[in-house]
Each structure stands twice: as structure tokens, then as C-alpha cells.
């Protein structure tokens, strides 16, 4: 009885097969056509809505050519606990001359001469969770923002500043930067400024600065100004000469949407600020911004080469900014995006290049397969110089060489 149901006359079989073939071939043609014409409706497994083409694997000359002025990194090598990193989870990384400093959930890892050395609370660090690192150009001191206070590593000795023994606003330090003799820390209770010459502290919060809330998440310095990523308060700018503040907030004043792109800070929940080459770059969990002092540009994952709207951190080095997203690392110079991701099957990596600030009919993202990649797509920290890049991720830290 069951078999009988499946037996149809030959004519019907032919008709069914024909319909099947036409349907499948039509769909295939549609996909092929979309790939060639750049139809963004063709889904991409990693970045929904973005068209891409797989080009020759590992052909770096082609990648470098496609990236134009943007640096391209490759030959990735990753380090985890088994390689000597204090913990898998790396929060931050800083290149310091010939050595590299990595803040992890298990202490400070220092990579020098091909070996890792670990420093923890036993050595005098405030807490093993190290969220931020900066190195003073003036003194060479290393400043560590930890979950338990601010630690200075100077002349082989660790000193810790906490709420109880200093003017630090709060012990959870999300960001620290050195600006000459001054050290700035973004904490859970306000932004702290420490003058290392006078040993004086100042705290900036909602009571003495145009912040909506006391909590801060990122801080950066440049051209006589300090910028603070004020969680819930957009970006606060402090002029170190005039001692005056101004704030930049989301013009639409709405948390759930962005009415117009390019009109200001994309969202009041800011996670990172970084300034270099006359440009302020802002990271949020909702997209990113570029501010040249007069104009704001907004970039989202659906309209640009940015891998994800969820940005943990950003760092500008020269004209290039590095955005640490939950889907990989995106780099950008205002014109071209170059992003790095692990491949879906974890056998290698991908480099995605978008030759234009925003996606358009004639601006598409090209994807290149490469044999190596960053260790994890959840990127939390980054640092780069002319020759190399280090990336801190949710599972390990990765080193990439600049391909020239």
C-alpha cells in the first residue's frame, strides 16, 4: 500500500523531475548571478547580508594589492596556556619595545626572547584580572589596570593604588593611559587623573563633569585633550590646558535605535575611545564612529566592512584604527576596511577587504582565505606597530606579521 503511493505514471515523473531541475537550477543561477552582481541578499555565514567571493588561498600579494594603503597582517601565531600564557582569556595587550605585555584573567604575561614569564598577585599585582595596560613614554613604567586596583610596575617593583590608599575612584580599572607625567584611569566609579610628579589625584564624575553617570569605560589622550568613554554618557572631552569639558552624546537620545547615521556618537553606551592622526575613533556595542573634529561618521556591520556592531575595544595607531569585535578584528583608515576572522571550520583564517568606507553597489567585500588566523573571533584587545600586530582574544593571544 505504501509502495503504491509512490508509483506515478511516467508522464508525472518527468514533470516532477523537470520542475525539480528548473527550481534547483533557477536558484543556483540566482545565487551565481547575485555573487557576480554583488546582491547583498545572498547570505554570508559569518556576516549576514554581505556578499563575498573566495579568492586564491594565501595569496598575500593579491591581498596586499587589494588592501591598498592599509596594512595587511598574516602568518599568525597564537599562544594559550599551554604555550606559557598565564590564562586563555587575554583582556589586553601592549607592545613595549622588544617585549609584549599581555593582561589575562590569570595575571600578566610578558613575552620576551621567545619565552613567556608570568606575574601575579604573588608578585605584587593588585589582582590577577588585568584589563588594561599602558607604558609611560616618559619613564618606561608599566601601568596595569586590574580588577582590584591600579598597579605600577617600575624598576622591577609593583606598587598598587586602590580606593583605600589613594585618590582612585574605584578599584575596577577598565582603561589606563599615560599622557606625559599624567596617568588617567577609567574606573567603575569615575575617571581618575594621577599626576605622578605632584602625587595628586583628581576624580571626574557626574558631579564635576558633564557625565550622565559616574562610570567610565575607556580613556585616551592626544593633542592636549583627554577623551573619556563614559558608559551611558557618550564621549567626554577634557581640554588639559583650559580645564574645560564638553560632551558628545547620541543626538537622537534613544537607546533602542539610531535615527540618522553620521549625526554624532552612535550610542551613549560607549566602550572605547582612541585618538591619533587628528581623528577620534569611538567604539560601542552598537556600531563605531569616526570624528575628525567637525564631522561624525557612523559605521555599522550592515553598511560597511565592520565585522560586528559589538565592539569591545579600539585602538588607533597612526591613520589606522583597530576595532576589537565579537566576530573578529576590523581595521580601517577611513577609506578601506581590512578585517580578520577565523574560518568557520577553524582550519585557517579569512581576510575581508572592503575598498570603501561604506558598502554600495560598486563597493563590495572581498574575502580571501589564508592558512593562519587569530586564535579566536571574540577579540578584546589589540596593539600594533609598523611591523607587527598582537591581538588579545577570549581564547589566547595572537601575533601577526605585517605583510609587505
Amino acid at each position: 500500500m505504501f509502495q503504491k503511493k509512490l508509483i506515478y505514471p511516467n508522464g508525472i515523473k518527468v514533470l516532477l523531475v523537470t520542475i525539480l531541475i528548473l527550481t534547483v537550477s533557477g536558484f543556483s543561477l540566482k545565487i551565481k548571478d547575485a555573487y557576480l552582481q554583488g546582491d547583498n541578499s545572498v547570505p554570508n555565514k559569518t556576516t549576514p547580508g554581505r556578499n563575498y567571493r573566495i579568492l586564491s588561498p594565501g595569496n598575500y600579494s593579491e591581498i596586499v594589492k587589494a588592501a591598498g594603503e592599509m596594512p595587511v597582517y598574516g602568518h599568525w601565531k597564537s599562544f594559550t596556556e599551554k604555550d606559557g600564557l598565564p590564562a586563555h582569556k587575554a583582556y589586553c595587550v601592549r607592545i613595549d619595545g622588544d617585549r609584549v605585555l599581555v593582561g589575562t584573567s590569570g595575571g600578566l604575561g610578558v613575552y620576551e626572547n621567545g619565552k613567556w614569564r608570568t606575574y601575579t598577585v604573588k608578585d605584587g599585582i593588585a589582582h590577577n584580572g588585568i584589563l588594561a595596560i599602558d607604558v609611560s613614554k616618559l619613564t618606561g613604567d608599566v601601568w596595569l589596570g586590574t580588577l582590584g586596583g591600579l598597579t605600577r610596575w617600575s624598576a622591577g617593583k609593583f606598587d598598587t593604588f586602590t580606593q583605600l590608599n589613594s585618590g582612585l575612584a574605584n578599584n575596577v580599572i577598565y582603561s589606563v593611559i599615560c599622557d606625559g607625567k599624567d596617568v588617567w584611569a577609567a574606573t567603575g566609579g569615575g575617571a581618575g587623573h594621577y599626576d605622578t610628579f605632584t602625587d595628586q589625584w583628581e576624580i571626574y564624575m557626574e558631579r564635576n563633569a558633564p557625565m550622565h553617570e559616574p562610570w567610565t569605560y575607556g580613556v585616551c589622550a592626544g593633542d592636549g585633550k583627554i577623551w573619556i568613554a563614559a558608559w551611558g554618557g557618550g564621549v567626554i572631552e577634557y581640554n588639559t590646558k583650559t580645564k574645560k569639558f564638553r560632551d558628545y552624546v547620541d543626538p537622537d537620545e534613544q537607546m533602542e535605535l539610531d535615527v540618522f547615521p553620521d549625526d554624532g556618537v552612535v550610542h551613549d553606551i560607549t566602550t572605547g575611545v582612541s585618538y591619533d592622526d587628528g581623528i577620534l575613533w569611538v567604539a560601542t556595542y552598537f556600531g563605531v564612529n569616526r570624528y575628525d573634529g567637525a564631522h561624525w561618521n557612523t559605521y555599522f556591520d550592515h553598511d560597511s566592512g565592520l565585522l560586528s556592531n559589538f565592539n569591545n575595544f579600539n585602538r588607533a595607531v597612526g591613520s589606522v584604527v583597530y576595532f576589537c569585535t565579537d566576530k573578529g578584528l576590523s581595521t580601517f583608515n577611513g577609506k578601506t576596511w581590512v578585517s580578520y576572522q577565523r574560518s568557520e571550520n577553524n582550519t585557517g583564517g579569512k581576510v575581508l577587504i572592503t575598498n570603501g568606507p561604506k558598502l554600495k553597489n560598486d563597493v563590495k567585500t572581498k574575502t580571501f582565505s589564508v592558512p593562519t588566523s587569530i586564535s579566536h573571533n571574540f577579540v578584546i584587545g589589540v596593539d600594533a606597530n609598523e611591523d607587527e600586530i598582537w591581538v588579545a582574544t577570549s581564547y589566547g593571544v595572537s601575533h601577526g606579521e605585517r605583510i609587505k
Binding site: K89, N170, G188, D252, E256, I269, F286
Partner: protein, 430 residues
């Protein structure tokens, strides 16, 4: 052949039935259950991007971590106001709700025979102390935590959860911006001020047809953020507030604010603050001979207010995040057990904390001892979607915010009388 043709005809008609049905599907709710006429910029411009149309995934590592062995207790954190703040009564109720849930879970065998243990922390909100408390809980190896009530402390704690990767359940802070931070480590199981504001706006402007509403609010984050959605709703409904005036926490004389309300000839006043101050303002308004209708935020739904305001509270309308006299067997059992255990009636903070702690316990039992997997269960929008707790049904939106029913209360004969919110009626008719 006949059977095949029958099959084709059947399929054709089935298709016809399905497609019109699709066309008549209920319209997807606006974010935050926002009524159509008060969607931000809704009358003028479609937003370039809506941020909460889909849940934010957590793509970091950690799910691979093995479950530890040899544990003697399974720790769950508690963060709440227990000392040195005006919110201590609410904090203690919240703690009691958690204790009751933990004790009941341990009677049922805890986690695979290992007892749950509550790690209690006071969130005294000075200099971002809540962040330090979350670090302490991280160091204590809690698997998840519940907290808190105060807006600032809760935000400070929430922000630390992303770095520390600890699941967080909030059952006591109605701040709508909590979920709007997009940190994928927290679920919010209490209706927020957005829901309260929309319910009050529907009731005041559409049902009561009032037009000139003045606001007196406390000058802190609860007042500032809490009233925001009402202020904006009023403007979008073409009845912008005629006055918004503040007072400081701890104030007892509100004559200046009340005079201002009188000066602008308001035909209603909305009070947004703690029960004690709200009661004092009500008393002073009535003492001045003003008879205008008074509305208030959810914190006014309190025995403290009834006691302090007495007859002056008659007619006061507030919102409440649940209905404590609902015909819900779970609720009745909870109220009975709570009173037996602690000797007092549970309040809104106790009830929601009880639900929140039970959700944490259920998530741990389902996911095992791995914070990332516990987070996944809490946020999967399946396991706890429609959770029937003592506070009613919890409905999460894509930001993990509870957009389930909220209630209106009216003081009548010295008691709060509960009724469904006009917002829910509006949504159910959609």
C-alpha cells in the same frame, strides 16, 4: 493518478489557506511594547537601525570549560541594599525571597546532591562599590548572581559582568536602560519603567482624558531615567508636561514644588520617587486644598505609603509589576511559606527575587556548572520564555527584558485595588 491529483488539489487549497493566514499574522510588537503612537520619531522618520530586533549573542570562549569536581557547595551570589541606604527594607525582602528559593531547592537535593549556598553582598553605592562586589563574587566562584535595586549600583555591577563573564539576573531594578546596554550576560525579570510609563500615559491621557500633567520627581537616577519614557510619551501624544520639578532625597518640605504645580494650573500630578517622600507630597498637596488627581510610580505601591498618607491616599493610581492578590496557586503557596519563614508579608521585591533565584537554580541544574552554559540557558529565549512564576508569566523580548503584564493599582478604602494595565489591553487587541 487520481490520488496524486487529489493530493495536488489538497495542497493547492492548503496553500491558499496558509498564505492568507500569514498575511493576517499579528503585527510584531514594537520594541518595549511601545504603542504605535509613541514610537520614537515614529511620526516623522523610520529609524536607520533598530538595535534590539535580535538578541545579542555571546561569541566568546568558555563553554569548553569542564565542570569542577569535589565541590561541597554550589555558590550563587546576591547583591542588594542591606545596609546604610534608604532601600534596606526592599533589599531585605529581596534577600528573603532568595533565601526561601535556596532553602526549597536544597530540600529538593540542591544540585546533584550538593547544596546551593547564597553568597550575600551589600551594594552600598559609594564610589562604584558594586563593581568591587562583583569582583568579589567572581573570586568566590559564584556561578551566577541576582541583584540589585538601585539603578547606579545595578549598572555598575552589570558592566563588570561582561569582563568577568558571570550570569546576572535582575529582579528589582525597573531601569529600562539596563537591557539596553546590550551586555549579553543579564536577564531582567521585572517589568521596567518603560512599561510603567506607557501604562500611566495610556491611563492618564487616553482613559482619563487629562491634558495638563505636572511631574514632581526625586532628583536621582530613579527619578531621572524612570520618568523619561513618560515625558516622551506625553510629548508624542501632544500633551507635553506642563512642569517637571525635582526634589532631593530626604526632603520633607515640598511646598515650593507644590506651589509651582498650582501656578501652572495642572489638572493632574505624577509623583516619581520612594514611598515615604511620595506620601509626604500627597499629604502636603491635600493639606493645601488641592483636589487634582494624583498618580505615582510603582514604588508608591507600598504599605508605608498607605500608613503615612492615610485618607489622603484615596484615589491614588500607581503601577505595580505584579498582582499580589492574583488567583495563582504558586503565589499563594509562596506568600504562605514566606510569612511562615520570615514572619512578614512578601513585597514586590521578595516575589520577584524568589522567581529570579528559582530561574538561576533551574538554569544551573539544566546547564551544569559552567557560567557560559548557564548564560546560554538563561538567554536562549526558550527555557524561561513564558516562565510561570509567583509574579505571573514572564515574557522576554529580544533584549531579555520582561515585557509581560503590568498592573494598575488604585487606593480605595485604604487598600490597593488591582486592575489590568491599559497597555496590555492595547497590545492584546493588536
Amino acid at each position: 493518478m487520481k490520488r496524486f491529483l487529489t493530493f495536488l488539489i489538497f495542497s493547492f487549497f492548503l496553500g491558499l489557506m496558509i498564505f492568507p493566514l500569514s498575511g493576517q499574522e499579528k503585527k510584531k510588537l514594537n520594541y518595549g511594547k511601545t504603542p504605535d503612537d509613541i514610537v520614537p520619531y515614529g511620526r516623522f522618520h523610520k529609524a536607520y537601525i533598530n538595535f534590539f530586533d535580535t538578541p545579542q549573542l555571546f561569541t566568546g570562549a568558555g563553554r569548553e570549560k569542564p565542570e569542577p569536581t569535589g565541590l561541597k557547595e554550589v555558590r550563587i551570589g546576591f547583591l542588594g541594599p542591606l545596609d546604610s541606604t534608604a532601600l534596606v527594607p526592599q533589599g531585605k525582602q529581596m534577600l528573603n525571597g532568595c533565601i526561601l528559593a535556596i532553602e526549597e531547592a536544597n530540600k529538593e537535593g540542591g544540585y546533584k546532591g550538593i547544596p546551593f549556598k547564597l553568597m550575600v553582598h551589600n551594594d552600598f553605592g559609594l564610589w562604584g562599590a558594586a563593581a568591587n562586589k562583583v569582583v568579589q563574587m567572581y573570586d568566590e566562584h559564584v556561578w551566577a548572581f541576582l541583584g540589585s535595586i538601585d539603578d547606579i549600583n545595578t549598572h555598575v555591577a552589570l558592566r563588570a559582568t561582561l569582563k568577568l563573564e558571570i550570569p546576572m539576573v535582575n529582579s528589582g531594578d525597573p531601569d529600562p536602560t539596563l537591557c539596553e546596554t546590550r551586555i549579553p550576560w543579564m536577564i531582567h525579570i521585572i517589568s521596567d519603567d518603560r512599561q510603567s510609563c506607557y501604562a500611566l500615559a495610556e491611563y492618564i491621557y487616553k482613559i482619563k482624558k487629562l491634558k495638563r500633567v505636572a511631574v514632581i520627581r526625586v532628583d536621582n537616577r530613579y527619578g531621572r531615567v524612570g520618568i523619561k519614557e513618560f515625558r516622551e510619551a506625553a510629548r508624542r501624544l501632544d500633551h507635553p508636561l506642563v512642569l517637571e520639578i525635582r526634589y532631593r532625597e530626604g526632603d520633607t518640605d515640598f511646598s515650593e514644588q507644590i506651589q509651582r504645580v498650582q501656578n501652572v494650573s495642572a489638572d493632574a500630578v505624577l509623583l516619581w520617587g520612594n514611598a515615604e517622600e511620595t506620601a509626604m507630597i500627597i499629604n502636603q498637596i491635600r493639606a493645601k486644598g488641592m483636589t487634582l488627581p494624583i498618580f505615582a510610580s510603582d514604588r508608591a505601591m507600598s504599605p508605608v505609603l498607605l500608613k503615612m498618607a492615610g485618607k489622603n491616599a484615596e484615589g491614588l493610581v500607581t503601577t505595580c509589576q505584579y498582582n499580589p492578590i492574583a488567583d495563582n496557586p504558586k503565589l499563594k503557596a509562596f506568600q504562605k511559606n514566606y510569612k511562615e519563614r520570615f514572619g512578614i508579608e512578601p513585597d514586590v521585591f521578595a516575589a520577584h527575587a524568589y522567581d529570579g533565584m528559582n530561574i538561576i537554580i533551574a538554569a544551573i541544574r539544566k546547564a551544569g556548572l559552567n557560567r557560559y552554559k548557564i548564560r546560554d540557558v538563561l538567554t536562549d529565549l526558550k527555557t524561561f520564555q513564558g516562565y510561570e512564576g509567583v509574579t505571573g508569566k514572564i515574557i522576554f523580548d529580544d533584549a531579555w527584558n520582561d515585557i509581560g503584564s503590568i498592573w494598575m493599582t488604585k487606593v480605595q478604602n485604604g487598600k490597593y485595588v488591582f486592575s489590568p494595565s491599559p497597555l496590555d489591553t492595547l497590545v492584546s487587541n493588536k
